[in-house]
């Protein structure tokens, strides 16, 4: 538990009342785990889509005797402490909750948060961010920040057509980049380090051991 408490992580959904019921069930099933007035944080996947539901969720949590200290939105939800906590909170057995395919350029200030794999057909511009439970595939230039394997761990990979990002995280490992790789490449974890597998122009293909 962090000093701000646990994170209530809500995946993408269609029916808000269903979610509210599940929150109630979950918190009630935890019995005495929470004391009255305990603070928790709220992180909603696709928060832009569900922005109008957030007050309802906050109200329901408060009815259950808890306080929401922060509502995390994409960029804020990427603070290290939160990411680490989210690993515990994302349903561990359900890492393969499907691939999210996004067909657009992700621009500065926009983000994708998904518990499974993320496939972006477009560019990831500087200032944009992807936080994925699994692997990340970008069919475009990668200039923004990618955090992969938050849920799945070091098995996750990041594949891009052009690596221009300053920073990539896979699971708990981080790597900063000072130089651009203007070729298709795959980032993977090998003996506790993020490695770059570059596209081989002669054989054709990327080797990831």
């Amino acid at each position: 538990m962090t000093k701000d408490g646990l994170v209530l992580y809500i995946k993408d959904y269609t029916d808000v009342y269903d979610v509210l019921q599940k929150i109630e069930d979950k918190i009630k099933s935890m019995g005495n785990f929470f004391a009255k007035g305990d603070k928790i944080m709220l992180l909603v996947e696709e928060h832009e889509k569900h922005i109008s539901d957030i007050p309802k969720i906050v109200a329901r949590v408060q009815e259950l005797g808890l306080t929401i200290s922060h509502v995390l939105m994409g960029a804020e939800g990427t603070k290290d402490v939160v990411i680490k906590k989210k690993v515990d909170m994302v349903n561990q057995g359900d890492t393969r909750s499907g691939t999210k395919v996004v067909k657009k350029n992700l621009r500065s200030g926009q983000s994708i948060i998904h518990s499974g794999d993320v496939m972006l057909i477009g560019n990831l511009h500087a200032g944009a961010e992807i936080v994925a439970g699994g692997s990340v595939f970008i069919f475009g230039r990668c200039q923004g920040i990618v955090r992969a394997g938050i849920n799945e761990g070091r098995e996750a990979i990041v594949a891009v057509l052009s690596l221009e990002t300053p920073f990539v995280q896979i699971s708990d490992l981080k790597r900063t980049f000072t130089e651009k790789v203007n070729r298709p490449c795959v980032l993977y974890v090998k003996s506790g380090r993020i490695e770059i597998g570059e596209y081989d122009t002669e054989i054709g293909g990327v080797s990831v051991e």
């Binding site: 832009e48 621009r107 500065s108 200030g109 500087a126 200032g127 475009g140």
Partner: protein, 272 residues
Amino acid sequence: MPAQKYKVFVVTSGKGGVGKTTFTANLGCTLAKMGERVCLIDADIGLKNLDVVLGLENRIIYTSFDVVNGTVSAKEALVKHKQLKNLYLLAASQVATKEMMSPEDMKRIVQELYDDFDYILIDSPAGIERGFRNSVAPAEAAFIVTTPELPAISDADRVIGLLENYGFTDEKMFIVLNKFKPHMAKRGDMLDKMDVEKALAMRIIGVIPDSEEVIVATNKGIPVVLEDGVVIGRSFENIVRRIKGEEVPIDEDLKGISKGFLSSLLSIFKKR
């Protein structure tokens, strides 16, 4: 003439100082010169300058704030341009603040003026806060003004993202590259229009060359396109043709710049 697609445009940029207001004034004048009925709305409440660029600062009696308060109707608050009889301005109040107006107020004002004009251009303030939301709310399409500098481009990227959240699709967003210096781009000292298109992953609707004439004209309170013999007017005419659906190559915007430079050199010699 091709059918007109959009009537209400917002001119925005995110970053300040890239030339939103100058662009709005000159585009408005270009449209009015072509015979369109044009209304310019200054949404930069508290820091207005569209009236100054148009040379109308002494004629303002009512502002959009008076319209919101119900003192006058939107049509009564309009100020007519001195030279162009079909160009009108709805000025912003200097004493009010941006918080005193809501996106709904702006929508109502534009609704009231909608049927009387062919084009309504809203000059948005810098930033992405209340003033930005106010000016975007009634717009059907957007001009995003940027300069060939990285801070301006990164802000433009952010603004495009925000406009997408408001439901603007790529066809409704027009990037304008302002203050472009062709000779510097040729030397590789300045980002070229291709670099900007690549960075934003979007096509540019027009390039406006940097020009000292703009500064001179702005200080006189006359939009530069109304002055005689300015090359910059061509860019605005091309932008108008493009938003009307005509295919005009981007290179047309910079034609005559080098010639203009030469001829201005020659004219210096002639004077002597």
